[in-house]
């Protein structure tokens, strides 16, 4: 259930170019959040909350980590929050990734700021004894983050658009380097999701979507996406942000 909570900022780190990691303390969310869910964060001076995926939780320390890119005035302002300050947060929002019991080898594909939810998911899958392969795409070497963290989970392929680190190109170019996975999970910019789902059309997969949000809880109809059955729709904030790759029409 979504609650409105105050979260203490216990750590703030710049982890890559324009990319900030915040570690937040809150018991309720740290105990209940599932991979794929997000926080809806109030930023001072801004009328709409900002949705940010949960990048990991620590049930013992009762912390939640989010990672975000400075993208506009709201994330800029959020990047200026300091340790010891509190955030007004709704969470955990949305439905997480559905995990199929029978799948054993899983491919994670994250692009840019779509990488964070992949990490929470990857950790969770490894805890469940599954094998994880990750393809992570970034703009350039300076934007790369969490490489070591993903390496600790399994084989990790880094791709940069400009080739300044790892493979050059897009995440889809790296698909040829992996084989034998039973299901894929992906999050990233829309063009990437379109390319990935097209290329992996024959595989079972789940995608995590972004859309501009009003309420973030399912009440305002701001964030709908048409489903593939005629005239249907889903709310990304409530029914998603994770959908089966065949469920919605990108």
């Amino acid at each position: 259930m979504i609650k409105k909570v105050e979260m203490l900022i216990s750590q703030r780190r710049i982890i890559a170019l324009d990319t900030v990691e915040l570690t937040l303390k809150n018991k309720y969310i740290s105990q209940t959040a599932r991979p794929g869910q997000f926080l809806h964060i109030l930023v001072e001076g801004h009328s709409l909350r900002r949705p940010l995926s949960i990048a990991s939780i620590n049930k013992v320390a009762e912390t939640i980590t989010v990672l975000f890119k400075i993208n506009g005035p709201g994330t800029k302002k959020l990047s200026e929050y300091k340790n010891g300050m509190y955030l007004d947060v709704l969470g955990p929002n949305g439905n997480g990734f559905q995990i199929e019991e029978h799948d054993n080898t899983i491919l994670l594909i994250g692009g840019g700021i779509g990488v964070p939810p992949m990490y929470f998911l990857g950790k969770h899958l490894v805890e469940q004894g599954k094998k994880v392969i990750s393809i992570l795409g970034f703009q350039s070497a300076g934007h790369v983050f969490y490489e070591d963290e993903f390496e600790a989970l399994g084989r990790t392929i880094i791709v940069t658009n400009d080739g300044s680190y790892g493979e050059k190109g897009f995440v889809t170019d790296a698909l040829r380097l992996v084989e034998d996975f039973e299901c894929y999970y992906t999050c990233g910019p829309l063009p990437m999701l379109k390319a990935v789902t097209a290329k992996l059309n024959d595989c079972s997969g789940y995608i995590s979507l972004e859309e501009r949000m009003g309420c973030g809880v399912g009440a305002c109809f701001a964030c709908v996406i048409p489903t593939n059955d005629h005239f249907g729709y889903k709310k990304i904030c409530k029914d998603g942000p994770v959908f089966h790759s065949k469920e919605v029409s990108l």
Binding site: C215, C220, A222
Partner: protein
């Protein structure tokens, strides 16, 4: 004990606070946050004759102290609303005000008539001012003759009191208000959103897929207060006021301006508990400014 009760045509409200149409869905999501029985009333999301998908996304944009929306009246259609949403809401001890919309007078009339079969609904809010749909909506909201006509037609078929929701995008709001009062409106609801636009600098295109959207939130409060103040001096039907209400002080300001009750829209998105908190805070704010009841306040700020 401060008396928060207020009586309006068809509505015996335990307090003057209600969520505004379109900002609270049909209550389900917010019922997880607090007991909706606490609310004076609930205004539901617009109902149209048949199911509507609405506009493409993006449908919302942030603005300074406000937001733009162009949802486009997405809703499952009046029958489905009566079948699935109204029964859910009637679990709560609060009044249901059903917002209705349409592209033609016939559609408005059909939706209004349908709500006669939903005894749990206490009143209609006639949305003649939705700026986010291609047909209908806005014309009804800017032409006093059309506004009067749709009001009269809906009144003819409906057993319920009708609150007509006015658009602020007009040269003369008083003229609009008088026209619908004369046509039989039992009350007014004001204001709907101001038409606005934001341009995405990267794409060089309007950010909203619908291009324009409705501006709501604190930014528009001064416009709402002005219009309510003006209209309340020229009509004798009550006004449900809205437009940027965020704090209990805002509620008092709307009541002083001449509103008899207050709806809260955009503020729910920032704080899902806002209506509940306003109801808790209202007594002490009334007390602070020397009032002992809500009815005591209404229109006290109006200089005739």
């Amino acid at each position: 004990m401060t008396d928060l009760r207020i009586e309006l045509p068809g509505l015996q409200l335990k307090n003057p606070i209600m969520p505004a149409s379109g900002c609270f869905g049909f209550g389900r999501e917010y019922s997880n946050f607090y007991d909706l029985s606490k609310l004076g009333a609930i205004i539901t999301k617009a109902a149209t004759g048949t199911k509507r998908y609405g506009n493409n996304t993006p449908r919302v944009a942030e603005t300074s102290s406000g937001m733009l929306n162009a949802i486009g009246l997405q809703n499952p259609g009046v029958e489905k609303i009566i079948a699935s949403e109204v029964p859910f809401l009637s679990n709560f001890d609060t009044s249901i005000i059903a917002n209705i919309a349409g592209s033609s007078i016939e559609e408005y009339v059909a939706v209004a008539a349908a709500f006669n079969e939903a005894p749990q609904v206490a009143a209609l809010e006639l949305n003649i001012s939705c700026p986010n749909v291609k047909e209908g909506g806005i014309q009804f909201g800017t032409d006093p003759l059309m506004a009067a006509e749709v009001t009269a037609m809906v009144k003819r078929v409906s057993d319920l009191p009708v609150y007509v929701k006015l658009s602020p995008n007009v040269s003369n709001i008083v003229e609009m208000a008088k026209a619908v009062e004369k046509a039989g409106a039992d009350g007014l609801s004001m204001i709907n959103t101001l038409t606005g636009m934001q341009i995405n600098l990267k794409s060089r295109k309007p950010l909203l897929a619908n291009k324009t959207g409705g501006l709501s939130g604190q930014a528009i409060k001064p416009v709402a207060i002005r219009m309510i103040h003006d209209v309340s001096q020229h009509v004798s039907i009550p006004i449900i006021g809205m437009g940027g209400v965020t704090s209990a002080e805002d509620v008092l300001e709307f009541l002083l301006a001449g509103a008899s009750a207050v709806a809260v829209g955009t503020a729910n998105f920032q704080n899902p508990f806002v209506c509940s908190e306003l109801i808790d805070e209202l007594p002490s704010i009334l007390d602070k400014y020397g009032f002992s009841s809500v009815s005591d306040v209404i229109g006290k700020g109006v200089i005739v």
